[in-house]
Each structure stands twice: as C-alpha cells, then as structure tokens.
C-alpha cells in the first residue's frame, strides 16, 4: 500500500480524467471490471455545472504515435453526476477522485461544495484547462488567475484538492507553485497539448471542434520535462502523466519526482493497461533495473544530435 494525500492506494497507477469510463466499461465487460479494477483510484471525467453534449464529430484524429481528441467534455452536469453517475461509481472498490471544471471561480465553488458534501468522493481534482470567461485565457495558463481560483475554492473542502495543470503555458512550474501557495494538496500534469489536424487535401480543420489535444507516446518526453520541472519546485505530491504505455514509462515519471502515475491514451489500446503497467512497474522496482533510456545518474554515452535509443 502507498499513501497519497491521506488516501491509501494499492499501487501508484491511476487513470487520467476522461480516459476511462467505469460505467460504460461495466456495460461492456460486466462485473469482471469490479473484481479486477485496473487502477488504484478512479478519476472521473470532468464534471461541469450544466450538462454538456460535447463537440460535433469528428472528434478523433490518429496522429504519429498518438492521437488528437476534441471531445468537448460531454457530461450530465453536476446534478446528473450526483444523481446518476456517483451511485454507480461508488460500486468501485477504489477511492474516487471527482474532476470538476468551471469558467469562473463562482462556478467552480458551486461544484466543489456540492462534491465535498458526498462521502463517496475521496478527493477533488480541478481541471483548469478552461478559458476564463473574462480574459479568454486558460485559467491554468496564468499563475495569477490560478492562484485566485484556488484561493476561492480551497476553504470549501477538507478533501484533498488536486490541481490538474495544462501544458499549454510558458512556465508550468510557476503555475504549480501558485497552486501550491494557495493550498493545493497535489499537482497533476500533463493535460493534452493543443493541436490541429487538417482534413486531407484541404486547409479545413478535421476535428469538429477545430483544435484538439494531442496525447499518447508523442507527448511522453514533454511530460517528463514538465513533471520534472514541477516536482523540483513544489513540495506537494505530483501525479505524472503523458504517454505512459508501460512500466518503464511510469518508472521514468517517478524517477523525476511523480508520486503517482496516471495512464490515459493507453487505456484505449488496452483496457487493462493500468493493471499491466502497475505489475511492470513493480517488477522494475524490485529488479532495480535502470530505465531503457539514458540513465541521468550515469555518464552519458558519446552521441550525436540524432541519437536515438537502439
């Protein structure tokens, strides 16, 4: 067992918000899902105050070593979540982390207060990759806006408060420091990288939402850089994610300072990826074997600029 913000977890692998729907998965796989749940805690998809249908299709684009999604946060809204989703998610055998997003501090405050009142919820994660209604800038891209938001909602809950950062910012560590300074219990990152795909042979965006978020192995090294940058600057625990597809990738994020690792896109390719990666990580940690990549603690081999792992 490991400890994270007062939660006791069976292993360090959880899911990224919006990359695993436990309710839908139970429809596909039945109660075997509950008996063999792949994550040590479950992070809900993002809940907003009002219901959202999501973006018009197409919503997906397969990229090189990854994908771009423009889903648009479809959800039943706060009331629908509390009435319909939460009782079903409470059947899971692991702690539940509810992810919420609002376009103003008032909206986020209403979400946090409502979720705080429910015993089924073990922790709250704030999705701050949302434009501020007044400035149009992502709240999570600006340390000042984010500090104001966390200051406003921190007093509303005694549950652990995790702030999920966007990578689409100039200085992610400064944003993390701002969140920690206002009382965030943990930082999670990275969210997807803003990206665009064109309809083949045209100048029109392929995705119904125009732009989307890039995820998968293509962003793995961005995640390592940003998790490392944040973990060096904050004392609170960090949940690292971005392109994790096996135990080695999880170990890399832990080695640069992550306490937990979230799996996202790989869940789409392997529904039990969480359990597999947890087992791979455990055997790597027992063996104490080095990363397959250049081990930063050892002298670097002589390589040219195009060096790649053989």
């Amino acid at each position: 067992m490991i400890e994270f913000c007062g939660l006791r977890l069976a292993h360090p692998i959880i899911n990224g918000s919006g990359t695993f729907d436990a309710i839908a998965a139970r429809r596909a796989f039945g109660d075997a899902l509950l008996d063999d749940f792949p994550f040590s805690a479950f992070v809900s998809k993002t809940i907003t105050l009002a219901p959202r249908a999501g973006n018009p299709p197409p919503r997906l684009w397969e990229a090189q070593a990854g994908m771009i999604n423009s889903i648009g946060l479809p959800n039943r809204g706060l009331d629908g979540y509390l009435e319909h989703d939460l009782p079903q998610l409470a059947a899971l055998s692991v702690p539940l982390i509810t992810n919420v997003m609002g376009s103003s501090a008032e909206e986020v405050a209403r979400l946090v207060e409502a979720v705080d009142a429910r015993d089924e919820v073990a922790a709250i994660e704030l999705n701050v990759s949302c434009p501020n209604v007044r400035t149009g800038l992502d709240i999570g891209a600006d340390p000042v806006s984010l500090a104001a938001l966390v200051r406003a909602v921190r007093p509303l809950t005694r549950k652990p408060l995790i702030v999920k950062l966007t990578p689409n910012t100039a200085d992610v560590a400064a944003v993390a420091v701002a969140a920690e300074g206002e009382g965030a219990d943990a930082i999670s990152l990275i969210n997807t990288l803003r990206a665009m795909a064109l309809e083949p042979g045209s100048a029109r965006p392929w995705l119904g939402g125009g732009t989307g978020g890039l995820s998968g192995p293509a962003v793995r090294n961005v995640a390592i850089a940003q998790v490392a940058a944040v973990a060096r600057r904050v004392a609170v625990p960090v949940v690292g994610m971005g392109g994790v597809a096996d135990g080695t990738h999880a170990k890399d994020l832990i080695s640069v300072g992550a306490s937990l690792v979230a799996v996202g896109t790989e869940n789409f390719r392997d529904p039990r990826a969480g359990a597999r990666i947890a087992a791979e990580l455990k055997s790597l940690q027992i063996a104490g074997s080095p990363s397959t990549y250049v081990n930063a603690s050892e002298p670097r081999p002589e390589v040219d600029a195009n060096w790649v792992d053989s």
């Binding site: 729907d21 998965a25 999501g54 997906l60 397969e62 789409f268 390719r269």
Partner: protein, 264 residues
C-alpha cells in the same frame, strides 16, 4: 443483443487469411472467447508492427464486426484501404493479434412477425452475413457493390439468399441496392430491414424505410479509439438531442433514432 466481453485484450493467433473477391477474410483462433451476437464487433491490433506503417500508423486498434464465429474461431472481413487494414492484409497464419470483444449491441429480432430483409453492401456485409446465419431460414439479402471483383465478396453471406447490385452493372442489377430495396418494400411492406454499409448507402436505406414506414436497424461505423465507451470519440447525433456512442449504445441503432446517418 449483447454478449459481454472478457475484461481486457487477449492475444490470439491468426489461422488463415483468405481472399474473397476484393476483400480478405481473416481467421483467428479464439478458444477462450464467448460466442458473439450478430452485429457486435471487436477491436483488433497486431502484436508486432502496429505503428510501423506510413506516418508510423496505425496507432489505435481498429473496430471490425465479426463475419462468423464458432468452433473456437472468429472470422473478420476487410478491404485494404488504410494504414490499419494494410497492416492486417500482411498477416499470415501464426501471426498474433490483440483482440478485445465482443463489444457493443448487435441486431434484435422483431417480435411482430415481420419479414427480415437484409440490405447493405461493400465492407458492410459481415454483420449482415452473421445475422443471416443467426436468424436462419435463409433471409433475403440485397447487397450492393462497386463492381464484379467486389461483388465476389457476397459469397461470404452463405446463410442468406443473396441478390446483388453493382454500380457498373458487371454482375446482378445495374444500379443501386436501394433500387432493389424499394421494389421489395413495395412488394411486401410488412418487413423489418437490417442494414450495414457505407454512410451514403445507409442514409439512403434509412430514408427509404422512413418513407415506407418500415422499421430498420442500422449497423453504424465511426472512427473510435477504444470500443468500450472510454474515449467518447465515436458519437452520432440522435433525434432526441445530444449524441450517443456507437461503441456502447450501438453499433446497431434503430433508424428512427437518427435524423440522418452522418457522412463520417
């Protein structure tokens, strides 16, 4: 109808890849898998070399309705048209695949004694062939194809009484499959239509059935990342508002839930 999938992907071996006109029939040994319901699908990816094609694709697994199942074997049918199917087309006996499934909701039998009529074409034949086999009694299947080479694929629907249409008139009716369907619906409207095919054909079938006030079940297709409701990528807009996910609410949907079949 829905058969639950074992939780997780499982590794299976290819037993053969056969030609069926312009299509390939992929056979895999799946001794541990349950028997699927017609219209359900599986997510497929090769264990080796998935991601080794042009632009390092494919990356995500690909969804395929099964063509037939039994005796510990699953059969799928595809045409080599993109990075996923191109990789699958290279497979030979003994190669290994990851499969997850069966997934989604398949076709449902009507309880009002209507005559089942199958209509579709192109690479949409697998769920119809599987449904003909599950229904029994050799139902009529109207299948449309581009040309003779593609129409040879109709042979896989051996549990149906097949009538073919081709765009170029090289075999069967010279014209659209919906022309055959219109004639059949005029002859006997006490019918339920089961359909799968390219979006434009599916939309024409939907419109025709609406016009004749005939119920229809459509097996839809959309790009999907996961197949089990996680990614929310494979949505279609429904008449009563919002979207449904093809992977968990479909792929078979009642035609009257849709305003129209989306173009992609």
């Amino acid at each position: 109808m829905r058969t639950l999938a074992p939780f997780g992907r499982r590794q299976v071996a290819v037993t053969a890849v056969d030609d069926a006109g312009a299509y390939r029939v992929l056979r895999v040994a799946d001794p541990a898998g349950p028997l699927p319901a017609a219209g359900q699908f599986y997510m497929l990816a090769t264990v080796q070399g998935w991601g080794a094609g042009r632009d390092e694709r494919p990356f995500l697994p690909r969804a395929f309705s099964f063509l037939s199942a039994g005796g510990g074997e699953l059969r799928f049918m595809f045409e080599d048209v993109g990075p996923g199917t191109s990789r699958l087309a290279q497979l030979a006996a003994g190669d290994e695949l990851w499969i997850t499934g069966p997934l989604g909701e398949g076709f449902r039998t009507p309880h009002d004694g209507r005559r089942p009529l199958l209509a579709g074409g192109g690479v949409g034949i697998p769920p119809l062939a599987a449904w003909a086999s599950e229904l029994g009694g050799s139902p009529l299947a109207l299948l449309g194809f581009r040309d003779r080479t593609h129409a040879a694929g109709a042979a896989v629907a051996d549990a149906a009484q097949v009538r073919v249409a081709t765009d170029d008139g090289s075999v069967g009716h010279h014209g659209l499959v919906t022309e055959l369907l219109a004639a059949e619906l005029a002859r006997d409207p006490y019918t339920v239509v089961y359909s799968c095919g390219p979006p434009a054909m599916l939309e024409a079938v939907r419109a025709l059935c609406t016009e004749h006030d005939v119920p229809a079940q459509l097996a839809l297709e959309a790009g999907m990342a996961c197949g089990f409701g996680a990614c929310y990528g494979c949505v279609v807009p429904v008449r009563d508002g919002g979207y449904v996910r093809i992977c968990v609410d479909g792929p078979v949907l009642d035609a009257d839930r849709l305003e129209r079949v989306p173009a992609h």
